[in-house]
Structures are given as structure tokens and as C-alpha cells.
Subunit: 293 residues, 4 copies
Amino acid sequence: MTLKLGWIGLGNMGQPMVTRLLQAGFDVTVYNRTRAKAEAFVEQGAKVANSPQELAEQVDTVITMVADGATLEEVLYGESGVIHGVRAGQTVIDMSTVGPEPVRFAAEAFLQRGVKFLEAPVSGSVGPAKEGTLVILVGGEEQAYEQHKPVFDVLGKASFHFGESGQGAQAKLAINLLLGVVLQGLSEALVLGSKAGLDRETLLRAIGVTACAAPIVLGKTPSILAGEYPAAFSLKHMEKDFGLALDEAKKVEAALPATSAAHQTYVAAKANGLGDQDIMAVLAHLERMSGLK
Amino acid sequence: MTLKLGWIGLGNMGQPMVTRLLQAGFDVTVYNRTRAKAEAFVEQGAKVANSPQELAEQVDTVITMVADGATLEEVLYGESGVIHGVRAGQTVIDMSTVGPEPVRFAAEAFLQRGVKFLEAPVSGSVGPAKEGTLVILVGGEEQAYEQHKPVFDVLGKASFHFGESGQGAQAKLAINLLLGVVLQGLSEALVLGSKAGLDRETLLRAIGVTACAAPIVLGKTPSILAGEYPAAFSLKHMEKDFGLALDEAKKVEAALPATSAAHQTYVAAKANGLGDQDIMAVLAHLERMSGLK
Amino acid sequence: MTLKLGWIGLGNMGQPMVTRLLQAGFDVTVYNRTRAKAEAFVEQGAKVANSPQELAEQVDTVITMVADGATLEEVLYGESGVIHGVRAGQTVIDMSTVGPEPVRFAAEAFLQRGVKFLEAPVSGSVGPAKEGTLVILVGGEEQAYEQHKPVFDVLGKASFHFGESGQGAQAKLAINLLLGVVLQGLSEALVLGSKAGLDRETLLRAIGVTACAAPIVLGKTPSILAGEYPAAFSLKHMEKDFGLALDEAKKVEAALPATSAAHQTYVAAKANGLGDQDIMAVLAHLERMSGLK
Amino acid sequence: MTLKLGWIGLGNMGQPMVTRLLQAGFDVTVYNRTRAKAEAFVEQGAKVANSPQELAEQVDTVITMVADGATLEEVLYGESGVIHGVRAGQTVIDMSTVGPEPVRFAAEAFLQRGVKFLEAPVSGSVGPAKEGTLVILVGGEEQAYEQHKPVFDVLGKASFHFGESGQGAQAKLAINLLLGVVLQGLSEALVLGSKAGLDRETLLRAIGVTACAAPIVLGKTPSILAGEYPAAFSLKHMEKDFGLALDEAKKVEAALPATSAAHQTYVAAKANGLGDQDIMAVLAHLERMSGLK
């Protein structure tokens, strides 16, 4: 017998993820603050709930995929929040990136109602969400993780269970800081190249065959050459994730010098109006900082 | 008619590169300060010269692959240096990483003797040197580059001509800073993970399937898990290259915040005795800095 | 008619501050978690309360001076907290350094009970607390500030009213980051000097007559020369304040590259067991990082 | 019998220094590339030489005070350079800031001619140069230092002999990095303050009475409030000195995280056209980076 799923959050990421679940035959009820976004899924076979609470009352497992901690708080604990609709035996899975603290808090809050809670943040943006090639980083009870592997298998190419609540969130922060530092490094290499008079396309072609050619580097190359940065993963979200990683680092006493240098660059890029562009727009900011534009 | 090649410098990189050239049928004369290292190539078919000068007198093209700028200066301009043996029409190619200034100087010095000079530093360490999969970054006269493509094709999987003398060296610095920043980012992600209690192997497996999984990241994983860092590319050489990149950045007025933060970490790692270990030993230093070891 | 004051928190800072108030003739009731510390002030003329609530019931103005945000929360809102003892017309003044958020929250919470709230964090450590030469940075209603100037005049050599609730806290963070960066800069200058073989005492004497000779630099010189760092202002508190400043900077989108580099150094120093020593022990950590000790 | 002094370099610093020496009764011959600047000192009692060589032939002690290492090289070793005019028994003193390497080189070069060489870089800019309150940091033979103390006493309020050639230069770099970091820290504090809505004048008044109130902080306050940065010590010179300090740090293996973060900010400020303004213009750059202007 398959699980009845409830999905909250139909942004850039949520939309393709729900489409995949529906195509895989899952029974999915959706909720979104802007109801029109939810209605759009009816013809794909989804049901629509009027509130997070109502959605929780109708499904076995609630999955949330929202923009930030404040939004998560609202959909979980707000008036008509998920917590008011759950019953013992259900599972709540948060796939957003909100850091370890809110998920530990949620795990405890739901446990008191006999509800299991997993955090399952993802590495990968819109493209992998569409193709089902996300990487899913899970924290929480192992049995609940095993039970929902069929869901994760539809959404991602791999999922990893890191341990208790909070550890999936921590893994996500560690991986995302690497992403941000890699793109900062790429940007600094390109800025140095341009100031030194190197042809950018040749430099990118060369980088593309070195040992530094991470998939993200190859993936961003067309956008860099076009000098246009429509958001796949927005710079302001990367800035937020850097902030969460450094908060966590502070708590566990991990010193992260390059991460914090990169973070400050993203803060400056955001302060200069680049927050809604793609993370790769950090290059545009570094170019400006070096007087290139 | 094939070129008679002269090779100076039989360290970690030079040895496998010369072996490949000999196996490909090139006529190679070698010189090394420690003569025994040169003699060892005789049975592979190499001739041995007694000095850089003598070597230059016997070949069409001299290739240098040495540890740093001071050594290059010695073999090129020292008492029995290359410059005293060259004649018009020859080519000198430096494949070391010494930054743009010494190669621009060399280009001018050799030009005055009617000798062409290319810099052709490589991206890739011992493994790619053996397999002929280096990436070769060339600056200097285009015709000389074209003439030596058969040589580059034996040594690397790709070569790029960036433009005039110095531009290959600049490309190398840009690419190497990216390498150093990527491994710094990886190390910071792992330190955060360990301080937060994550299983390192699981974290590395997860990273290995994300968009950050650069070949260098996958390549260093076994060494990280073993916690042993025998030098493929030594940390002190990366520290030197970071220094060269930042010197160049200073000159062309490029601000590189994460690069300089990473550089300082490598300086500290070197000050703590890790200079002769692999670049990846920067992780060991960051672990110590965060009280892990 | 003089104000009846209630004082909560008799740590390193609170003790000399209360002594000054008593000596100046103020009527002071004290509370401290470890009651013995409170009893010790009886012979100086203080009364002792059994709880923050009881203290609030007996005085006109409650002043808190505690270690961190968590402790402040407990004494203000915990069971038997201040908030349960206040009545309309009173004032609560927090002199701790807890950042803008908790003080804005407190201002609102007390306002609902008709109680005025000022934050009045101080710049200066134990010495200035004894001598009454603290610098007091106030946020909150101007009239309440004016009313308590006689108190501030006993405790500090100057007080500044920055504006509404939170602005005194923000000023404190800005000033403290400067302090931390200055001592980091001093430490880096000394590490460079020592690695270069300079006599430290001569270097410090020279610095002591330059334009960089801030009072804190002169004040820390004996401790540096002795190589001993008993806490006047503990390194872990500076680390906390750096963290609060960078959190605030993130919110208001201010990029602070040197502050964040210094912060990471303090995090590492703390991770290496230096948290309970004086802020100046950051020098000991930087020395270790450069292989000096 | 007093020394006959020769002075090379009549820029912002050289001019007031020569005036002081003349007023103190020294016999001074001057040389400057732009001869008009030299002529202007005739009515104050100076003689004018036609070249560094001629100047060296006419005096006991040659003092150089020039903009950078390249200029120093030219006046010392160029066609009509000092070195061609010296004779055994003389002394050459360089008061520029050029780093340890050129002064060690000079010491050796002049020693071979029986000429003593001191480096005596100064801390302090135009104001202290006029008032004779520079701080003079000397490396080289102690006896030569003692012999020239009367000269140093006219130019500075204090002089320190650090040891052999190069050590005065190193002390200068250490002290100047502290200066640069202090003003970077001040700027970051002010940027955070402004983004948080604090009144800048109040914040500066508060800073001005804290333990961070270095003379340079107080000295720059009027310029900050006016938002105008006419060069006392130009930003590009600070950038150069940061670069020299970090080069030296690299050599002696000293890790300087905040210094390098600050340096990158100065590089960016210079890339954005602020190099000829005062060092304090780093604030203007940081404001721009945070979207303030």
C-alpha cells in the first residue's frame, strides 16, 4: 500500500519535485500559500488542501519544501499549521535548507505528538529537481528514512542517512559551503584572468579539462560566457546558507577562513542588488570590486 | 624530420614526462643536477648531457621542468646555463610554474639570441604526467606553439595557447588558485562535518555525487579517508603558486578575498611542518586549527 | 529623591560597578544566582533579594549585567524572573552585551507592562569598571536615559544615547569589533616581527609611540611581554561579540572582511582551549599557527 | 664638526624633513628629479646637486626618501646614481619604505665600497614630518646609528635600532600593517554602524573615548566626518606596504589572516580609483561594497 503524500511549498524546487512524484504514481495532496500554484497541479492528478493543517489531516506523510526558516515555522506551527493536523504514526519530512536548529526543534515538537520527523535537505537546484538527480541528505530515525526511500528514489539519484535529527541539515550546510567556495574560487580565477588580459573562453575551456572541473563549474560556463545570471539557485539563498554554516561552525568551534571570506563577498554582492540573481552572479560582484565593470 | 629534444629537470614530474617522450620515439637528451637521475634514463634510450649549456648545444629544443624560479634562473643563466649554449633558430620551453615575470624576462633574453621561448606550465600532477593527461597552458609565439604540438600531445590531453609570453603563466596561476581554493573549501566542509559529528566517509560519498565533485575531490578521497598525505603535488608548491597568483593579482589590481584567506592557511600549514606533504594536508592543518587533533 | 536600584549579576564587571554605586550613596538591592556573592555586598550597604522577581518588586530601576543572552533571558523571563515582579512606571536597564535582538524584544515585552527598558552595554573591562571610566552606549527612550544619567555618571566617564531600542546594542557591537580587530592586527604585527627575528620589547616600545598606540595597545603591553593572559575581557566573550556583530552585519547587509577573518581566528583560538584566557591570548594562537610555539 | 648631509627626494615627506634639518642648522645639499623642487630650498640655505652622484661626492652622509623600490634603485644605482659618487667612510641612509630585501642588497653593495648603509624608514606622515614627531625604525650597524642620532632627533620624536640591515625595514612593515588593519577595523565598525542606522558622529565620539582611540583614529575623525580624503598617506602606498609585509610574512612563514583580508580590500579600493586618496578612503570603498553609496 502506497503512502499518501502531502506537499507544502510549490516554488522553483517544489514544482518539479511534485511533478515527478505524480508521474511516479504517488498520491499527492498539495498546499501553497498562493493557491493558484497549487490548482495548477490538479490536472496532473494532485489534490489541493486549504491549509497545512487540513493537508496534514488527509495524508500519511507531510513534506515541506519552503524558502527559509521563517516560512517553515509558519507552515508547521502557525495558525492552521501542520502541527494542528497531525496524528500519531504520521511522518513529517522537511526538505528545505534551514539549518540544524529548527529541524531539531521540529523533531522534538512532533515526537511529542507521536509523529516522526525527518529532515531531508537536497543538494542540487532546478535542473536536478526536474531530472530526479538531487542528492538527499537525511537526518532522523533510520526506520522512517527506510520507509520513505521510495519517495527519495523518485526525487534524487542518491540519498544518505547521516544519523539523528540535525545531522542531515549539518551535512547540507557542509556541502553547500563547498559549493559556494568552489564558485567563489572560480570567480576569483576568472577575475585574475580577465585583469591579466586572458581570453575568458579559452580559460574556461582549459579549466573545463583540469581536475577542478566540477560538474557545477561546467554547468555554469554558458551562463558565465553570456554574462547573464538568471537564478537556478539564487545568490541570496547561498548567502543565507553560508550564514547558517558559519553559525553552526561557531557553535561547534570549527574555524572556516575561506568560507567566511567567501560569505562576506556574497553579503556584499547582495548589498549591491545581486541577491535575486543566480549564485554565479558573485562573479559580477567580484568583477566590480576589481574595477572591471 | 623530428625535433631533437633536450630535457632539464628530472623530479617527480620530469621523470614520467621524459619516459613518455622516449616511448613516443622522440630523441631526448637529459640533464639533471644529480647526474644519477639522468643516467637512469640511458637504458630507456636517452642521451645524457654534462651541463645545461652542453645540452643546449646538442638539441633543437630545450625543455625545462624545475622546482622554482631560482632553479630555473640557474639552469638558464648560470655559469654553464642554457643561454650560453643556444644558437639562433632554437626554441626553449619552460614547463615549470614560475609566474609571468621570469618567463617574460626569459622570452626577451632568448629573443636577443634569435631563440624562441615558450612557457608551457601544466595543470596536473604525477598521475596525469604518467598517463599523458596533463593540461598544458602555453604563452609565446603561436608558430613555435604549433611546431611543438606533437610534443605537447604526448605529454597532455589538451594544450591551450593563451597569447604572448606570460599569458600561459598567468593562466596557470589562475587555474592553480582555483585548485587550492577547491581543496580548502573541501577541507573546511570536512572540518565542519567532523566537529558536528558527521561520519566522514558518508559525507565524502555524498559530496562525491554532488555538483561539487571535481575530479580532484574524487581523487583525494582515498587519501583523506586514510588520513595520509604523501605528496602528489606538495603543499609548499601550492603555497608558492598561491603567492605568485596573489603577486600577479596585486599588479593587475584584482582583489581575491578567498584566495588570500586560503593562502594564509597554506602558509600556516607550511609553518607547522606540512610543506613536504601533499596539498591535501591542508585538511590536517585546518583540523588542528579547530582543535580536532 | 534618589532612585532605588536593583542589580542582577555580580560577575567580574558587576561587582566593581555595584561597589561604585554603593560608594556614591545609591540605595542598591542585589541578586546573584550564587547567593554568597550577593551576601558579600551587605557590609557595603546593599540589600539582598531572593530572586529577580523579588528584587523587581522592591526597587525603582532594575539593572542587569550578565554573561550572555541565555542568562539574560532566564533572569528576565524565567520562573521568578524580573518580568513577574515589575509594575508600571519602573525602568529596566540591561548593561550586558547581548546584541540588538534580545534588547528589542525586551523593550517590547516590558513596554506592554508600562515599564521602560534601556539597553546600556559598556565598552571597557574590569579596570575601567573599578575606576568608573567605562563608556556607556545607550538605546531606548531618551527621557529614561536622562533620568538615569546620575547612575551612568558613577559607572562611566561618558555615556552616549544612540536612539531607539537596539541602537545602543548596535553601537556596542561596532565598537567591540574594532577592539577585536585592533588586537588581531597588533598580534599579527608581533608575529611577523618575531618570525623576522625582531626583539619584541623594542617593537612594542616603537608601536607604543606611533599613531597606532591605542590605549588598549599600551594596556596590553605588559601582559604580552609576560606572555601571560589572565582574563580582563575573556577571549570567548570577544568571540561571542564578533559573532553578534557579524550576525547583525548579515542582517543589515554590511560586508566586513577583516572582522570575519579575525573572528575565525578567535573561533580557532577558542577551539584550542584559549577561551577563558584574556582576549589578548589571540596572540598565543596566532603564534602557534605560525609555528612559533 | 657637523656632518654634511645630502638629501634625495623632495616629495610630501622629504620637503618638511629637509626644512627641519636646515632650521636645525645642518648643512644640507639636496637633489630632486624635478629640479625646481630642489631650487625652492636654496633660500632656506640648501645647496643643490645636479645628480645623485654629484650629491654623494659633496657630502658625508646621503639620505634618500623616495616613493618606492624602483625609484630607490634608480637614484642609488642608476647612471648618475649615488653609488658612483661615494667614497669609503661615508654613510648612506634610506628613509623610504621599500621592504627588507632592497635594503639588505644596498647594505652589501655599499659595504663593498667601504660605505656604511642604514635603513631608517619612518612611521608617521606629513604632519609628524613637519613637527619632527616621526618614529624612526633603524636597521644596520649600531655605530652608524649612534653617529646619526642628532639627525634622527631633529626628524623624529623617537628612533629605535632594531639590529642588522633589514630589521628596521621589517619593523616598519610590522608597524604599518597594524596601521592598515586599525583603519580597516575602524572603517568596518563605521560601515556596520551606518547600515544599522547609527549616527556616525555620535559613534565616532564614542569610539574616541574608548580604549580603541588610537591617535590615528582621532586624527582621521574630521576627515571621515567631512567624507573627504586628501592624501596624508596615500591609499596606494598603504597597499604597497601591505604587499611588502605579506611578501615578508610568506618568506618567514607567518600567517596573517586579517592583514591579508585588509590588503585585498585596499587592492580593490585601488582598482576602483581610490589609490591617490588618503588611506582613510578605504572607508569609502567599504561603504560602496556594502551598497551605501
